[in-house]
Homo-oligomer: 515 residues x 2
């Protein structure tokens, strides 16, 4: 006989799911045991559920297919919610398996009794509680299909323990490949008319549109029509570097966004929603599109935006060689004081081809986007949902997905502490990741926001909640404490040599840059 857990695992594998990021408990032991019988599914342990969730996000952003997660009941899932929130905003496909008490045990008030579905609902695009082992394979197949979308979403499958241990049916068969819905002709006509109007037009893009092909088509369009192309402030996976079409990001602060859109008459949304302020500020509007601007949705998230952009190029006679292409341009390594700008410049100097950058540098980004613009082609993963702690986790998952590519985590120190346990999994799995910690020993973003909000001087009470320098976090100790080769960097010269060496070497290491 095959039990539910084994049928589940085989169905996931038939659906192309090859990795399971996990932090299991007692109710998941049959799933864990089934890993011994079902070869080919790679289990990756996180010592905290935020690591598991964020890694599943990073994996799928790069693999373009879902990983599975494995969580233990509502509270275990709770620990993963903030990183699942980021994944939801990235429209990342995840098969989110959450263990639950046996069906006949759920009714009792046990210590770990929890409404697992209530925990899962805020982040789940698809949600089902398995009713019996007999239907588990079908549920798993539906979950994989739902996760794919498009757009990708979190498909949460709640797995009562007895559904894992009881006798199951046959595993689910392979799935047809996910297809993106084509954009309607009427929409193409509408957008073409706007682009032909000669009125100020902005294309705001995300999703598949900010990968190389979409950016290339959008650049052809822009050059043929005078439109402006922007990417959302935060994108799931932006492809950039030499030979690709560069794109400006929508600015983070609302007054900048409103100014940028000031004269726009047509805003064309490409796999995104109208831009609004990240946070609210007293007396400032949240809605940034001018009243006189018409909003056109070329492609909703998950629709075939790239084909739509390419069709528009044909309709508008945008020549194939009409895209702006980024020239190769690599700065020299920085000299002088060790500042975020110097780090950014030296990162650009040594960034290898096909690198994957997981960016949670927050206030330390300095001129990083500009410095790296002409680097060899690379992928840029950003904090899509604003929930801190995604830099290390997303980089971790990306490295599991792409073992032949260098992953670079550019990590602010405050944000890095949220899922600091990621370092251990990087070491355990010997992933090819270099973590650069910007150690400014402050929640500097909060100081910025405090000032923006006009709150005056920071007093003792407020300082207690915004400065993290007392005691000093020793990232070299933290990294080594989790088995990671770690070095402290206190000069630009030292950064240059250590970072260059890290780019040449393989395997995980951490560089703490003391700012």
């Amino acid at each position: 006989m095959m039990n539910g857990a084994e049928a589940l695992l085989r169905t996931l594998m038939n659906g192309g799911v090859e990795v399971c990021f996990a932090n299991p408990g007692t109710s998941e032991m049959h799933f864990v045991a089934a890993l011994d019988r079902v070869r080919g599914m790679r289990p990756v342990l996180g010592l905290f559920e935020g690591v598991v969730a964020g890694a599943a996000d990073g994996y799928a952003r790069m693999a373009d297919k879902p990983a599975a997660t494995l969580f233990h009941l509502g509270p275990g899932l709770g620990n993963g919610l903030s990183q699942l929130h980021n994944a939801m905003r990235a429209r990342t496909p995840i098969v989110n398996v959450v263990g639950e008490h046996a069906t006949w045990h759920r009714r009792y008030e046990t210590p770990l009794a929890s409404d697992v579905a209530a925990y899962a609902r805020p982040v789940s695009g698809w949600l089902r509680t398995c009713a019996s082992a007999r239907v588990l394979a079908a549920d798993a197949r539906a979950a994989v299909q739902a996760a794919h979308g498009p757009p990708g979403q979190i498909a949460s499958l709640i797995l009562p323990a007895d559904c894992s241990w009881d006798e199951a049916g046959e595993p689910g068969a392979a799935l047809p490949p996910p297809r993106r819905r084509a954009v309607d002709d009427a929409v193409l006509q509408e957008v073409a008319t706007a682009l032909r109007s000669g009125e100020p037009t902005v294309l705001l893009m995300n999703g598949a549109a900010v990968r190389a092909d979409g950016l290339h088509a959008a650049s052809r369009l822009a050059n043929a029509t005078g439109a402006t192309v922007l990417a959302d402030t935060f994108t799931s996976r932006l492809q950039r570097g030499a030979g690709r079409s560069p794109v400006q990001r929508f600015p983070r602060y609302p007054e900048q966004g409103a100014a940028l859109l000031g004269q726009t008459r047509h805003l064309v949304l490409v796999e995104t929603v109208p831009p609004v302020g990240f946070f609210a500020y007293p007396g400032q509007p949240s809605w940034l599109t001018p009243e006189s601007c018409r909003i056109h949705t070329l492609a909703a998230p998950g629709e075939d935006s790239v084909a739509a952009l390419e069709t528009l190029c044909e309709m508008l006679g945008a020549p194939e060689d009409g895209a702006t292409v980024q020239e190769a341009s690599v700065p020299a390594p920085a000299t002088g004081a060790l500042t975020p700008e110097a780090v950014g410049q030296s990162v650009a100097a040594y960034l290898p081809e096909h690198a994957i950058v997981s960016d949670e540098a927050v206030t330390s980004r300095g001129g990083l986007p500009e410095a790296t613009a002409g680097c060899p082609p690379h992928d840029w993963l950003s904090l899509t949902g604003g929930a801190l702690g995604g830099g290390l986790t997303v980089g971790l998952g990306a490295a599991v997905a792409c073992p032949d590519r260098k992953v670079l985590c550019l990590q602010a120190d405050g944000a890095g502490m949220y899922n600091v346990q990621s370092l251990w999994t990087m070491a355990r799995e010997r992933l090819d990741i270099t973590v650069v910690v910007y150690a400014n020993r402050s929640y500097r973003i909060l100081h910025h926001e405090f000032e923006r909000l006009g709150l005056g001087d920071v007093g003792e009470g407020a300082r207690q909640l915004m400065d993290i320098g007392e005691p000093t976090l020793d990232w070299v100790a933290l990294g080594r404490g989790m088995g990671l080769e770690s070095h402290r960097i206190e000069s630009t010269e030292s950064f240059n040599s250590q970072f260059a060496a890290a780019m040449q070497a393989r395997g995980p290491q951490l560089l703490e840059v003391v700012l």
Copy 2:
């Protein structure tokens, strides 16, 4: 003018709330700024929200009044949910303040937009979203009252940013002291009849009943009637040690619990619910009370159980000096191999009077409860909700509540990693805490459960998810990395001298016991 944030803080202080455990973001900056104007509210920063939530739990277990928390939107709260789950099971009062986007900003799909109430609902006994700064003081007063109960509960107040920055009304006035509802005479008569029957009777206790006075009264009753007194497996705060009435805990595994209750004809519940298995096992019942046993609820959680027990003593003529009282009995420090049992014995040898033990030793508890039974009086805090990661956080909060008492965190290594960021706050606040890490480098509890479930030998796939020894976690490095004095212990003699010194000294330190 007074803004909402200041009115909120003053209302909390009028309600006796003196500490705010916090991990704020931009939408909470006015709350943070108000800390500079409202002296007396102590802000305690956690670098991760699980630390914040668990510390608020530990604080209130010892202070018998709520602390406030401060979280940033749904995802920030999500990071705290597992520890709030433990607090909910402990019936801990917490005023759970969750920042939210401004009321007019919530409608937009921003990166951090989230259904904060949906995040809060699984753990909240009381939940309200503030509608305007004008009503914030009234909302805060209601939240404090709701948190107190009794029984204590999590009162979640969702705080849109504009409710903090707009002009507010007067702060809320002080509250009447919370009162426990007295037990009805009819119930007392029913239980007295059961106790007089001579039939096998068990009192199962939790809440206030497992503190010194409740245990004393229950022991008088037991000795007068032949009844058996048990405490729940996991209790919020158990008072024990020399001079107090000892109590046996209900066993963890269902077959043990069912055997213990086998002949019972009357089960008297004192601030608890009928015992059920912690987890389900194939073919084993979850419900442990025999069919022939009648269940009597003497006191629901939050009712005045201690008065009820004392009244029963009078009704049944149980003499005032009729309680069993634990004799003082302190073992000699251990010798020989460094095992969990040796550590338990040496902990008992040096445990100071009025120590607070936060117990998340999991499989390393060994003979700890037995060894410490006759130690000087102390409080024992356990993992009420089963969500790992409460050992360090609850100890942290207890130390904030009781600066004159030694706090001892007995911490399994696997569980300790979930909220490892607690170590930093211990160092920052210079709390009088000794952390003993039992470093067995395994999720040993999972190995136990794997075996209990009859899953056979652990293969390579399963081992990947249950062994955490590769790479080795270096807890001394982790502790020092977060500013904590830390030592590695590799022999019983070394443990004896280091632990004895720690009990004499003040301030935080960590001892990693390599098992």
